[in-house]
Symmetry: C2
Subunit: 207 residues, 2 copies
DNA sequence: TCACTATGTTACCGACCAGTAACATCAGAG
DNA sequence: CTCTGATGTTACTGGTCGGTAACATAGTGA
Protein backbone atom coordinates (compact mmCIF):
# COMPACT_ATOMS: atom_id res chain seq x y z
CA UNK A 1 0.00 0.00 0.00
CA UNK A 2 2.47 2.62 1.17
CA UNK A 3 5.62 0.53 1.05
CA UNK A 4 8.09 2.87 -0.61
CA UNK A 5 7.09 5.94 1.33
CA UNK A 6 9.17 7.47 4.11
CA UNK A 7 8.16 6.39 7.60
CA UNK A 8 6.40 9.59 8.50
CA UNK A 9 3.89 9.18 5.72
CA UNK A 10 3.49 5.50 6.37
CA UNK A 11 2.68 6.34 9.97
CA UNK A 12 0.09 8.88 8.92
CA UNK A 13 -1.45 6.41 6.50
CA UNK A 14 -1.61 3.72 9.16
CA UNK A 15 -3.07 6.17 11.67
CA UNK A 16 -5.69 7.19 9.14
CA UNK A 17 -6.73 3.62 8.62
CA UNK A 18 -6.79 2.64 12.28
CA UNK A 19 -8.35 5.81 13.62
CA UNK A 20 -11.14 5.55 11.09
CA UNK A 21 -11.87 1.94 11.93
CA UNK A 22 -11.39 1.83 15.69
CA UNK A 23 -11.60 5.42 16.84
CA UNK A 24 -8.86 7.54 18.31
CA UNK A 25 -8.98 6.25 21.85
CA UNK A 26 -9.28 2.72 20.62
CA UNK A 27 -5.87 2.63 18.97
CA UNK A 28 -2.52 2.72 20.71
CA UNK A 29 0.63 4.24 19.28
CA UNK A 30 2.27 0.85 19.28
CA UNK A 31 -0.41 -0.54 16.98
CA UNK A 32 -0.03 2.41 14.64
CA UNK A 33 3.72 2.03 14.44
CA UNK A 34 3.42 -1.66 13.79
CA UNK A 35 0.79 -1.18 11.09
CA UNK A 36 3.14 1.34 9.50
CA UNK A 37 5.90 -1.25 9.41
CA UNK A 38 7.99 0.59 11.95
CA UNK A 39 8.09 1.03 15.73
CA UNK A 40 7.13 3.35 18.49
CA UNK A 41 10.49 5.10 18.69
CA UNK A 42 10.52 6.32 15.12
CA UNK A 43 6.95 7.40 15.58
CA UNK A 44 7.98 9.59 18.48
CA UNK A 45 10.90 10.94 16.47
CA UNK A 46 8.41 12.29 13.95
CA UNK A 47 5.54 13.30 16.21
CA UNK A 48 6.09 14.79 19.58
CA UNK A 49 3.05 13.08 21.10
CA UNK A 50 0.01 11.05 20.22
CA UNK A 51 -2.09 14.20 20.42
CA UNK A 52 0.15 15.86 17.88
CA UNK A 53 -0.19 12.85 15.61
CA UNK A 54 -3.95 13.12 15.91
CA UNK A 55 -3.81 16.80 15.06
CA UNK A 56 -1.58 16.15 12.06
CA UNK A 57 -3.93 13.44 10.87
CA UNK A 58 -6.82 15.89 11.13
CA UNK A 59 -4.84 18.52 9.23
CA UNK A 60 -4.45 16.04 6.41
CA UNK A 61 -8.15 15.25 6.23
CA UNK A 62 -9.13 18.88 6.44
CA UNK A 63 -6.68 20.07 3.81
CA UNK A 64 -7.93 17.38 1.48
CA UNK A 65 -11.46 18.69 1.87
CA UNK A 66 -10.29 22.22 1.29
CA UNK A 67 -8.62 21.10 -1.92
CA UNK A 68 -11.91 19.63 -3.12
CA UNK A 69 -13.55 22.94 -2.45
CA UNK A 70 -10.96 24.89 -4.40
CA UNK A 71 -11.42 22.55 -7.35
CA UNK A 72 -15.13 23.23 -7.32
CA UNK A 73 -14.61 26.95 -7.38
CA UNK A 74 -12.36 26.86 -10.39
CA UNK A 75 -14.54 24.33 -12.15
CA UNK A 76 -17.61 26.56 -12.04
CA UNK A 77 -16.36 30.11 -12.04
CA UNK A 78 -18.99 32.79 -11.54
CA UNK A 79 -21.69 30.24 -10.79
CA UNK A 80 -22.22 29.98 -7.05
CA UNK A 81 -25.21 27.67 -7.33
CA UNK A 82 -23.32 25.18 -9.43
CA UNK A 83 -20.49 25.35 -6.92
CA UNK A 84 -22.81 24.51 -4.05
CA UNK A 85 -24.37 21.64 -5.94
CA UNK A 86 -21.09 20.24 -7.12
CA UNK A 87 -19.52 20.48 -3.72
CA UNK A 88 -22.51 18.78 -2.15
CA UNK A 89 -22.18 16.07 -4.75
CA UNK A 90 -18.58 15.51 -3.74
CA UNK A 91 -19.58 15.39 -0.12
CA UNK A 92 -22.29 12.87 -0.91
CA UNK A 93 -19.75 10.72 -2.67
CA UNK A 94 -17.41 10.96 0.27
CA UNK A 95 -20.12 9.38 2.41
CA UNK A 96 -19.14 6.03 0.96
CA UNK A 97 -15.83 6.17 2.84
CA UNK A 98 -17.60 6.46 6.13
CA UNK A 99 -20.52 4.12 5.88
CA UNK A 100 -19.46 1.92 8.76
CA UNK A 101 -18.02 4.36 11.20
CA UNK A 102 -19.33 7.80 10.29
CA UNK A 103 -17.39 10.95 9.64
CA UNK A 104 -13.91 10.90 11.17
CA UNK A 105 -14.21 14.59 11.86
CA UNK A 106 -17.43 14.27 13.81
CA UNK A 107 -16.06 11.23 15.60
CA UNK A 108 -12.88 13.04 16.56
CA UNK A 109 -14.96 15.88 17.91
CA UNK A 110 -16.82 13.43 20.09
CA UNK A 111 -13.69 11.65 21.20
CA UNK A 112 -11.80 14.78 22.19
CA UNK A 113 -13.72 16.53 24.94
CA UNK A 114 -10.77 18.69 25.99
CA UNK A 115 -11.47 22.03 24.30
CA UNK A 116 -7.77 22.86 24.05
CA UNK A 117 -6.73 19.70 22.29
CA UNK A 118 -4.57 20.61 19.28
CA UNK A 119 -6.88 18.73 16.93
CA UNK A 120 -9.90 20.63 18.14
CA UNK A 121 -8.57 23.89 16.74
CA UNK A 122 -8.07 22.25 13.36
CA UNK A 123 -11.62 20.94 13.34
CA UNK A 124 -13.28 24.09 14.60
CA UNK A 125 -11.48 26.26 12.08
CA UNK A 126 -12.33 23.88 9.30
CA UNK A 127 -16.02 23.80 10.07
CA UNK A 128 -16.16 27.57 10.41
CA UNK A 129 -14.34 27.93 7.10
CA UNK A 130 -16.69 25.53 5.38
CA UNK A 131 -19.75 27.28 6.70
CA UNK A 132 -18.34 30.67 5.73
CA UNK A 133 -17.69 29.61 2.19
CA UNK A 134 -21.21 28.26 1.96
CA UNK A 135 -22.61 31.49 3.29
CA UNK A 136 -20.62 33.54 0.81
CA UNK A 137 -21.89 31.41 -2.03
CA UNK A 138 -25.46 31.86 -0.86
CA UNK A 139 -24.90 35.59 -0.77
CA UNK A 140 -23.39 35.59 -4.22
CA UNK A 141 -26.36 33.60 -5.46
CA UNK A 142 -28.50 36.37 -3.99
CA UNK A 143 -30.77 34.11 -2.09
CA UNK A 144 -33.24 36.18 -0.09
CA UNK A 145 -31.95 34.84 3.21
CA UNK A 146 -28.43 33.61 2.68
CA UNK A 147 -27.81 32.69 6.33
CA UNK A 148 -30.88 30.53 6.42
CA UNK A 149 -30.09 28.73 3.20
CA UNK A 150 -26.48 28.23 4.20
CA UNK A 151 -27.55 26.73 7.50
CA UNK A 152 -30.02 24.52 5.74
CA UNK A 153 -27.36 23.15 3.42
CA UNK A 154 -25.05 22.70 6.35
CA UNK A 155 -27.60 20.87 8.45
CA UNK A 156 -28.50 18.58 5.58
CA UNK A 157 -24.87 17.76 4.85
CA UNK A 158 -23.91 17.17 8.45
CA UNK A 159 -27.10 15.28 9.10
CA UNK A 160 -26.42 13.01 6.17
CA UNK A 161 -22.97 12.34 7.53
CA UNK A 162 -24.28 11.25 10.87
CA UNK A 163 -27.13 9.21 9.37
CA UNK A 164 -25.11 7.23 6.90
CA UNK A 165 -24.41 4.74 9.66
CA UNK A 166 -28.03 4.02 10.46
CA UNK A 167 -29.72 4.53 7.08
CA UNK A 168 -28.28 2.95 4.00
CA UNK A 169 -25.59 4.78 2.10
CA UNK A 170 -27.35 4.68 -1.22
CA UNK A 171 -30.55 6.24 -0.02
CA UNK A 172 -28.77 8.89 2.01
CA UNK A 173 -26.67 10.00 -0.92
CA UNK A 174 -29.61 10.05 -3.29
CA UNK A 175 -31.98 11.91 -1.02
CA UNK A 176 -29.30 14.32 0.03
CA UNK A 177 -28.63 15.39 -3.52
CA UNK A 178 -32.29 15.71 -4.40
CA UNK A 179 -32.81 17.91 -1.38
CA UNK A 180 -29.80 20.06 -2.08
CA UNK A 181 -30.86 20.48 -5.67
CA UNK A 182 -34.38 21.46 -4.82
CA UNK A 183 -33.28 23.75 -2.06
CA UNK A 184 -30.71 25.62 -3.98
CA UNK A 185 -32.96 25.77 -6.96
CA UNK A 186 -30.67 24.21 -9.51
CA UNK A 187 -33.80 23.24 -11.34
CA UNK A 188 -35.73 26.49 -11.70
CA UNK A 189 -33.68 28.58 -9.29
CA UNK A 190 -36.30 28.77 -6.64
CA UNK A 191 -35.86 28.64 -2.94
CA UNK A 192 -38.13 26.36 -1.03
CA UNK A 193 -40.54 28.48 0.91
CA UNK A 194 -38.59 29.18 4.03
CA UNK A 195 -39.55 31.33 6.94
CA UNK A 196 -41.83 33.59 5.07
CA UNK A 197 -39.91 35.23 2.28
CA UNK A 198 -41.17 33.51 -0.80
CA UNK A 199 -39.51 35.90 -3.20
CA UNK A 200 -36.96 33.97 -5.19
CA UNK A 201 -34.85 35.93 -7.60
CA UNK A 202 -33.05 34.31 -10.43
CA UNK A 203 -29.52 33.84 -9.18
CA UNK A 204 -27.16 36.35 -10.63
CA UNK A 205 -23.79 34.98 -11.48
CA UNK A 206 -21.27 36.93 -9.53
CA UNK A 207 -17.52 37.09 -9.44
CA UNK B 1 -29.37 17.25 43.83
CA UNK B 2 -30.11 13.53 44.17
CA UNK B 3 -29.38 13.10 47.84
CA UNK B 4 -32.32 11.08 49.03
CA UNK B 5 -32.37 8.68 46.12
CA UNK B 6 -31.16 5.12 46.30
CA UNK B 7 -27.57 4.57 45.17
CA UNK B 8 -28.45 3.07 41.85
CA UNK B 9 -30.22 6.21 40.71
CA UNK B 10 -27.56 8.45 42.14
CA UNK B 11 -25.00 6.52 40.15
CA UNK B 12 -27.01 6.88 36.98
CA UNK B 13 -27.44 10.60 37.61
CA UNK B 14 -23.72 11.04 38.21
CA UNK B 15 -22.88 9.03 35.13
CA UNK B 16 -25.25 11.15 33.10
CA UNK B 17 -23.54 14.33 34.21
CA UNK B 18 -19.99 13.10 33.77
CA UNK B 19 -20.51 11.22 30.51
CA UNK B 20 -22.13 14.28 28.99
CA UNK B 21 -19.32 16.58 30.07
CA UNK B 22 -16.24 14.45 29.57
CA UNK B 23 -17.30 11.67 27.26
CA UNK B 24 -17.58 8.00 28.04
CA UNK B 25 -13.95 7.07 27.73
CA UNK B 26 -12.92 10.16 29.62
CA UNK B 27 -14.60 9.13 32.87
CA UNK B 28 -13.60 6.26 35.11
CA UNK B 29 -15.98 4.24 37.23
CA UNK B 30 -14.24 5.47 40.35
CA UNK B 31 -15.05 9.07 39.47
CA UNK B 32 -18.68 8.18 38.82
CA UNK B 33 -19.05 6.40 42.13
CA UNK B 34 -17.46 9.27 43.98
CA UNK B 35 -19.66 11.83 42.26
CA UNK B 36 -22.63 9.71 43.25
CA UNK B 37 -21.55 9.86 46.86
CA UNK B 38 -20.73 6.18 46.98
CA UNK B 39 -17.91 3.89 45.91
CA UNK B 40 -16.82 1.54 43.22
CA UNK B 41 -18.01 -1.61 44.99
CA UNK B 42 -21.64 -0.58 45.26
CA UNK B 43 -21.48 0.52 41.68
CA UNK B 44 -20.44 -2.95 40.66
CA UNK B 45 -23.15 -4.44 42.82
CA UNK B 46 -25.72 -2.58 40.71
CA UNK B 47 -24.11 -2.79 37.28
CA UNK B 48 -22.26 -5.79 36.12
CA UNK B 49 -19.70 -3.77 34.17
CA UNK B 50 -18.96 -0.28 32.97
CA UNK B 51 -20.32 -1.21 29.57
CA UNK B 52 -23.59 -2.24 31.15
CA UNK B 53 -23.72 1.05 33.01
CA UNK B 54 -23.21 2.86 29.73
CA UNK B 55 -26.00 0.86 28.14
CA UNK B 56 -28.32 1.55 31.05
CA UNK B 57 -27.52 5.24 30.84
CA UNK B 58 -28.38 5.17 27.15
CA UNK B 59 -31.62 3.34 27.86
CA UNK B 60 -32.58 6.17 30.16
CA UNK B 61 -31.89 8.86 27.60
CA UNK B 62 -33.65 6.97 24.87
CA UNK B 63 -36.74 6.19 26.90
CA UNK B 64 -37.00 9.83 27.86
CA UNK B 65 -37.04 10.77 24.20
CA UNK B 66 -39.61 8.12 23.47
CA UNK B 67 -41.80 9.56 26.19
CA UNK B 68 -41.59 12.99 24.57
CA UNK B 69 -42.75 11.44 21.36
CA UNK B 70 -45.70 9.74 22.95
CA UNK B 71 -46.76 13.01 24.51
CA UNK B 72 -46.73 14.66 21.13
CA UNK B 73 -48.92 12.00 19.63
CA UNK B 74 -51.57 12.36 22.26
CA UNK B 75 -51.36 16.12 22.24
CA UNK B 76 -52.18 16.36 18.54
CA UNK B 77 -54.32 13.38 17.72
CA UNK B 78 -55.14 12.90 14.07
CA UNK B 79 -52.80 15.66 12.97
CA UNK B 80 -49.53 14.19 11.76
CA UNK B 81 -48.13 17.50 10.58
CA UNK B 82 -48.66 19.13 13.94
CA UNK B 83 -47.00 16.13 15.53
CA UNK B 84 -43.93 16.50 13.37
CA UNK B 85 -43.69 20.20 14.05
CA UNK B 86 -44.22 19.87 17.75
CA UNK B 87 -41.75 17.06 18.07
CA UNK B 88 -39.17 19.03 16.12
CA UNK B 89 -39.81 21.93 18.44
CA UNK B 90 -39.05 19.74 21.43
CA UNK B 91 -35.92 18.51 19.76
CA UNK B 92 -34.84 22.06 19.06
CA UNK B 93 -35.35 22.93 22.70
CA UNK B 94 -33.33 19.91 23.75
CA UNK B 95 -30.40 21.36 21.83
CA UNK B 96 -29.79 23.70 24.73
CA UNK B 97 -28.69 20.78 26.89
CA UNK B 98 -25.96 19.91 24.49
CA UNK B 99 -24.51 23.19 23.37
CA UNK B 100 -21.03 22.51 24.67
CA UNK B 101 -20.57 18.85 23.96
CA UNK B 102 -23.12 17.88 21.35
CA UNK B 103 -25.63 15.09 21.46
CA UNK B 104 -24.75 12.36 23.93
CA UNK B 105 -26.22 9.81 21.58
CA UNK B 106 -24.08 10.83 18.65
CA UNK B 107 -21.06 11.07 20.91
CA UNK B 108 -21.65 7.63 22.32
CA UNK B 109 -21.89 6.28 18.81
CA UNK B 110 -18.53 7.77 18.03
CA UNK B 111 -16.95 6.58 21.24
CA UNK B 112 -18.12 3.00 20.91
CA UNK B 113 -16.62 1.54 17.76
CA UNK B 114 -17.32 -2.06 18.77
CA UNK B 115 -20.51 -2.93 16.90
CA UNK B 116 -21.58 -5.44 19.54
CA UNK B 117 -21.36 -3.08 22.47
CA UNK B 118 -24.58 -3.34 24.49
CA UNK B 119 -25.21 0.39 24.17
CA UNK B 120 -24.95 0.25 20.42
CA UNK B 121 -28.05 -1.88 20.14
CA UNK B 122 -29.96 0.64 22.24
CA UNK B 123 -28.87 3.50 20.04
CA UNK B 124 -29.42 1.77 16.73
CA UNK B 125 -32.89 0.65 17.69
CA UNK B 126 -33.75 4.10 18.94
CA UNK B 127 -32.69 5.83 15.77
CA UNK B 128 -34.51 3.30 13.64
CA UNK B 129 -37.62 3.75 15.75
CA UNK B 130 -37.43 7.51 15.49
CA UNK B 131 -37.00 7.42 11.76
CA UNK B 132 -39.86 4.96 11.41
CA UNK B 133 -42.25 7.09 13.36
CA UNK B 134 -41.30 10.06 11.26
CA UNK B 135 -41.86 8.10 8.09
CA UNK B 136 -45.26 6.93 9.27
CA UNK B 137 -46.25 10.51 10.05
CA UNK B 138 -45.16 11.62 6.60
CA UNK B 139 -47.25 8.85 5.11
CA UNK B 140 -50.24 9.79 7.22
CA UNK B 141 -49.83 13.37 6.11
CA UNK B 142 -49.94 12.05 2.56
CA UNK B 143 -46.86 13.79 1.39
CA UNK B 144 -46.12 12.81 -2.18
CA UNK B 145 -42.78 11.26 -1.24
CA UNK B 146 -42.92 10.33 2.40
CA UNK B 147 -39.47 8.67 2.47
CA UNK B 148 -37.85 11.76 1.07
CA UNK B 149 -39.54 14.14 3.44
CA UNK B 150 -38.85 11.91 6.40
CA UNK B 151 -35.18 11.78 5.48
CA UNK B 152 -35.13 15.51 5.05
CA UNK B 153 -36.53 16.07 8.51
CA UNK B 154 -34.14 13.54 9.92
CA UNK B 155 -31.10 15.08 8.25
CA UNK B 156 -32.07 18.53 9.42
CA UNK B 157 -32.59 17.41 12.99
CA UNK B 158 -29.42 15.35 13.18
CA UNK B 159 -27.47 18.05 11.40
CA UNK B 160 -28.67 20.64 13.86
CA UNK B 161 -27.53 18.41 16.69
CA UNK B 162 -24.06 18.13 15.37
CA UNK B 163 -23.81 21.82 14.45
CA UNK B 164 -24.93 23.24 17.75
CA UNK B 165 -21.36 23.03 18.93
CA UNK B 166 -19.90 25.14 16.14
CA UNK B 167 -22.78 27.48 15.35
CA UNK B 168 -24.56 29.31 18.11
CA UNK B 169 -27.44 27.57 19.81
CA UNK B 170 -29.91 30.36 19.24
CA UNK B 171 -29.46 30.52 15.52
CA UNK B 172 -29.49 26.75 15.11
CA UNK B 173 -32.76 26.40 16.96
CA UNK B 174 -34.40 29.24 15.11
CA UNK B 175 -33.32 28.20 11.66
CA UNK B 176 -34.10 24.60 12.34
CA UNK B 177 -37.69 25.38 13.20
CA UNK B 178 -38.19 27.69 10.28
CA UNK B 179 -36.90 25.01 7.96
CA UNK B 180 -39.03 22.28 9.46
CA UNK B 181 -42.08 24.47 9.28
CA UNK B 182 -41.55 25.39 5.69
CA UNK B 183 -40.69 21.88 4.71
CA UNK B 184 -43.60 20.21 6.29
CA UNK B 185 -45.90 22.93 5.15
CA UNK B 186 -47.36 23.89 8.47
CA UNK B 187 -48.04 27.25 6.95
CA UNK B 188 -49.87 26.49 3.74
CA UNK B 189 -49.31 22.75 3.68
CA UNK B 190 -46.97 22.74 0.75
CA UNK B 191 -43.92 20.66 0.26
CA UNK B 192 -40.80 22.39 -0.90
CA UNK B 193 -40.16 21.35 -4.44
CA UNK B 194 -38.22 18.19 -3.99
CA UNK B 195 -37.07 15.79 -6.59
CA UNK B 196 -39.62 16.64 -9.15
CA UNK B 197 -43.00 15.96 -7.67
CA UNK B 198 -44.44 19.40 -7.08
CA UNK B 199 -47.91 18.16 -6.30
CA UNK B 200 -48.66 19.05 -2.72
CA UNK B 201 -51.95 17.90 -1.39
CA UNK B 202 -53.57 19.36 1.64
CA UNK B 203 -52.67 16.99 4.43
CA UNK B 204 -55.55 14.85 5.41
CA UNK B 205 -55.89 14.27 9.08
CA UNK B 206 -55.68 10.58 9.59
CA UNK B 207 -56.26 8.27 12.48
C1' DT C 1 -31.19 -10.31 70.52
C1' DC C 2 -30.32 -12.48 66.06
C1' DA C 3 -29.92 -12.80 61.36
C1' DC C 4 -30.04 -10.92 56.90
C1' DT C 5 -29.20 -7.57 53.49
C1' DA C 6 -27.33 -3.33 51.52
C1' DT C 7 -23.63 -0.47 51.78
C1' DG C 8 -18.85 1.39 52.96
C1' DT C 9 -13.61 0.72 53.10
C1' DT C 10 -9.25 -0.71 51.82
C1' DA C 11 -6.22 -2.98 49.29
C1' DC C 12 -5.06 -5.28 45.55
C1' DC C 13 -4.49 -7.49 40.60
C1' DG C 14 -3.67 -7.48 35.81
C1' DA C 15 -3.91 -5.18 31.67
C1' DC C 16 -3.06 -1.45 28.88
C1' DC C 17 -0.79 2.55 27.42
C1' DA C 18 1.97 6.98 26.55
C1' DG C 19 6.45 8.09 26.58
C1' DT C 20 11.77 7.42 27.30
C1' DA C 21 16.61 5.49 27.60
C1' DA C 22 20.32 3.03 25.75
C1' DC C 23 22.19 0.64 22.40
C1' DA C 24 22.45 -1.72 17.78
C1' DT C 25 22.10 -1.34 12.77
C1' DC C 26 22.41 0.38 8.29
C1' DA C 27 22.48 3.58 4.52
C1' DG C 28 24.53 7.19 2.07
C1' DA C 29 27.93 11.19 1.61
C1' DG C 30 32.55 12.76 1.86
C1' DC D 1 36.67 3.54 4.71
C1' DT D 2 34.47 6.49 7.95
C1' DC D 3 31.51 9.59 9.80
C1' DT D 4 26.85 10.74 10.39
C1' DG D 5 22.13 10.66 10.65
C1' DA D 6 17.99 8.07 10.42
C1' DT D 7 15.98 3.93 11.83
C1' DG D 8 15.29 -0.60 14.49
C1' DT D 9 15.22 -3.17 19.07
C1' DT D 10 14.55 -4.03 23.70
C1' DA D 11 13.41 -2.97 27.96
C1' DC D 12 11.66 -0.03 31.16
C1' DT D 13 8.80 3.66 33.90
C1' DG D 14 4.82 5.66 35.74
C1' DG D 15 0.25 6.11 35.56
C1' DT D 16 -4.63 4.91 34.74
C1' DC D 17 -8.31 1.97 34.82
C1' DG D 18 -11.67 -1.93 35.04
C1' DG D 19 -12.74 -5.29 38.14
C1' DT D 20 -12.42 -8.21 42.59
C1' DA D 21 -11.57 -9.97 47.42
C1' DA D 22 -12.12 -9.58 52.20
C1' DC D 23 -13.74 -7.43 55.84
C1' DA D 24 -16.29 -3.81 58.44
C1' DT D 25 -20.55 -1.30 59.30
C1' DA D 26 -25.35 -0.11 59.63
C1' DG D 27 -30.11 -0.64 59.23
C1' DT D 28 -34.22 -3.64 59.40
C1' DG D 29 -37.52 -7.05 60.54
C1' DA D 30 -38.74 -10.96 63.51
Amino acid sequence: MSEGLPPRQRILAAADDLFRRHGIRGVGVEAIAEAAGTNKMTLYRHFESKDELIAEWMRGIVSQKDRVWDEMVERHPNDPVAQIVDWSQRTAEALAQMEERGSPILNALAELPEPDHPARKVIDEHRAREHDRLLILCQQAEFPEPELTADQCFFLLEGAKSCVQCIGLKRVGEHLMRLINSMVGARGRELPAAGGSPAPKPARRTR
